[in-house]
Symmetry: C2
Subunit: 390 residues, 2 copies
């Protein structure tokens, strides 16, 4: 997006923002294309990481197909915009590419779910609600929907079996890994409303139209509306927007460098499963807080028990059959690593065993079948962890 005015060819529009290569620009300029709800950092001092730089570029990793690469190569191959590596609490590596700067607010995409899930987990731990209760206990509007019979914990772990009622005739949209359903994307504000649109106006209404396809709780099905369920419950019970809850419970306590923000839909509701933006370092702070069992900046921010539950489930010996817990992905490795993940390759990787946090903002432009955008990092990060614990 260069020039005043930018040429037609140089423009990035709202309609293009989720598509590559436009997301190489849009992920760093989300607020210029979307309405957002700010998450104020508060007034406290910034908590800076101690620094002990290490050259990690030569660390070698092997992908499942056997080919070998280095950590430095991985950065380019996975379209990294920024990466920070925190080991034993010290920042040992920080790089920015693709014009990203330390103060740039970058899209987390689906990594946002892990923020929403963490808020839900901590509020449930405090007794605001019961994860084993049915979703419809808190959201009676959904009694006739496919969510009936599912527990909140099942939404947390994405083991509900809801499906979208597909409606033909939507605008040509992005890859399904970015846009699960076009009407859903309209209600989130990610897609403009087509002319003569008669579908649900808000994601609240859309959730009520989803239907059940099988028994809840038996299998993992990645569906962003589960995140909306969590956000809706805590917003209703606290009578506050998600952005304000995040501000009060997490963001204003962490000594972050900058405000965060959420993309909001037509009733200014936050896109709880897709729309968070923060700086890279603030993402790293959030990860380090998780690594430190919820303690950061001299405060217990997330209850220790919430993190210990996550760490326990993340260990292969926990016999947890699902790859996802409380809106975090489980690496299923001996380190008990878990991570937030966005479709552009954004990762917040937490390895308790190696005392490692990797925050990685990326803008993989074209998702490919098999998830090429993820697997470089998925091979590189455990290799990095192994190197660090040597």
């Amino acid at each position: 997006m260069r020039g005043f005015p930018p040429s037609k060819e140089a423009r990035v529009t709202h309609a293009q923002q989720l598509l590559g290569p436009y997301n190489r620009w849009s992920f760093q300029n989300i607020q210029k294309l979307n309405p957002t709800a700010e998450v104020w950092r508060g007034e406290g001092a910034v908590v800076h990481f101690d620094r002990e730089p290490r050259d990690l570029d030569g660390i070698s990793y092997q992908r499942r197909n056997g080919s070998r690469y280095t950590f430095g190569e991985m950065l380019e191959l996975s379209y990294t915009d920024g990466i920070a590596v925190i080991h034993q609490g010290k920042m040992i590596y920080e790089r920015y590419l693709n014009s990203m700067q330390a103060h740039t607010l970058h899209a987390w995409a689906s990594g946002s779910k892990s923020m929403t899930g963490t808020l839900a987990a901590m509020l449930a731990h405090e007794g605001l609600f019961d994860l084993e209760n049915q979703i419809t206990y808190y959201l009676p509007e959904l009694k006739e929907s496919g969510f009936a019979g599912a527990t909140v914990q099942q939404a947390m772990d994405m083991t509900t079996t809801v499906k979208f009622r597909r409606v033909e005739g939507g605008p040509l949209t992005a890859h399904p890994s970015m846009v699960e359903d076009w009407q859903y994307s309209v209600t989130l504000g990610w897609l403009a409303k087509p002319e003569k649109y008669t579908g649900p106006e808000t994601s609240y209404e859309l959730l009520a139209t989803m239907y059940r396809d099988g028994e809840h709780g038996e299998r993992f099905t990645y569906q962003t509306p589960n995140s909306d369920i969590l956000a809706w419950i805590i917003k209703r019970l606290l009578n506050k927007p998600l952005a304000d809850i995040m501000q009060e419970r997490i963001w204003s306590k962490m000594g972050v460098e900058r405000d965060a923000a959420w993309v909001v839909g037509p009733t200014t509701e936050e896109t709880s499963g897709s729309g968070l933006i923060t700086t890279l370092r603030d993402m790293a702070r959030f990860g380090q807080m998780m690594l430190q069992k919820g303690r950061f900046n001299g405060k217990q921010i997330v209850p220790e028990a919430v993190i210990e539950d996550m760490e326990r489930v993340a260990l292969p010996g926990s016999h947890n059959p699902m790859p996802y817990h409380n809106q975090w992905w489980l690496a299923n490795n001996e380190h008990g690593a878990y991570y937030a993940l966005g479709y552009g390759g954004q990762i917040l990787y937490i390895d308790p065993s190696a005392q490692l946090v990797v925050a990685k903002m990326s803008s993989y432009p074209v998702p490919v079948d098999g998830g090429e955008e993820f697997f470089h990092a998925f091979a590189a990060l455990p290799a990095l962890a192994n190197e660090l614990v040597k």
Copy 2:
């Protein structure tokens, strides 16, 4: 905007945001309804005002119709959301109403013009361009438009005589004091594009369609496109968005508390004459910097000569026949006061003689003929200044 989901009656939409009473909410929630370009505050420490609270509520003023009111009454009568009074560099009064908080980002509306004008004035002073040059010297795209023959200074002072080519059939919009032309508002992003819209896509294109109605330079005609001219020139010459120019030249140097932001249009261009949002205190800091002849936070931020020119023109003896200079209103009083002004009654009032700065965020819901929303403050602020210099 209450409830999850908010009831239809409780919703404030993009289409309503400029209208009362919705602007009582929307002016404090601009980012939730519009895309914005952030203006980073930088990394420096916050510059706090010393405080020496005074009770100003009883100060009496008389309106032109003879009726008397008090400063405290004025706050409610002019739909104040927040007000800060700085006298001799000390904050002597600070009040928030209508749910506004100290960290709330509030719309400046047309007060934004004074930020754009100040940036243009300082850059012209540095030699980036010449205010006496023709606008079309920098913007040849406008050679066939009504701006041909006008100087940049005439745009600064709103003495160009351009008019909109009115096009019928626009959506029902707000009062003309908020929306000068519906197609113009569409290009700024303040109004959604109606179905089958065939008008200009951007404000850049719209400016080229305006025509001349009389000799430039002879009379004052308040037209927001003049602000766009200034922003366009400095963006083009520096090859940066207005938000970035403001960040580098002013915002990152002032020790402000929070980032600012600009509402942006369809090519992410800032609404240079209407779309700035900041906290109340940061507005006051900007005013205090002007009062201190451009010096604040230990830095000369705006050149002293730029302020001295403003102060000179603002004195009635200057024989300046126009009420507006460099995108600031001139109070035309013996104190040489000048001010930024938004249609909701937002005012940044600078009285060099009384060493007074008043920052006032307001959301007057229904503009009335004759400007009821302004005249309470217009009577109260000089009365306050007179009280302070007693």
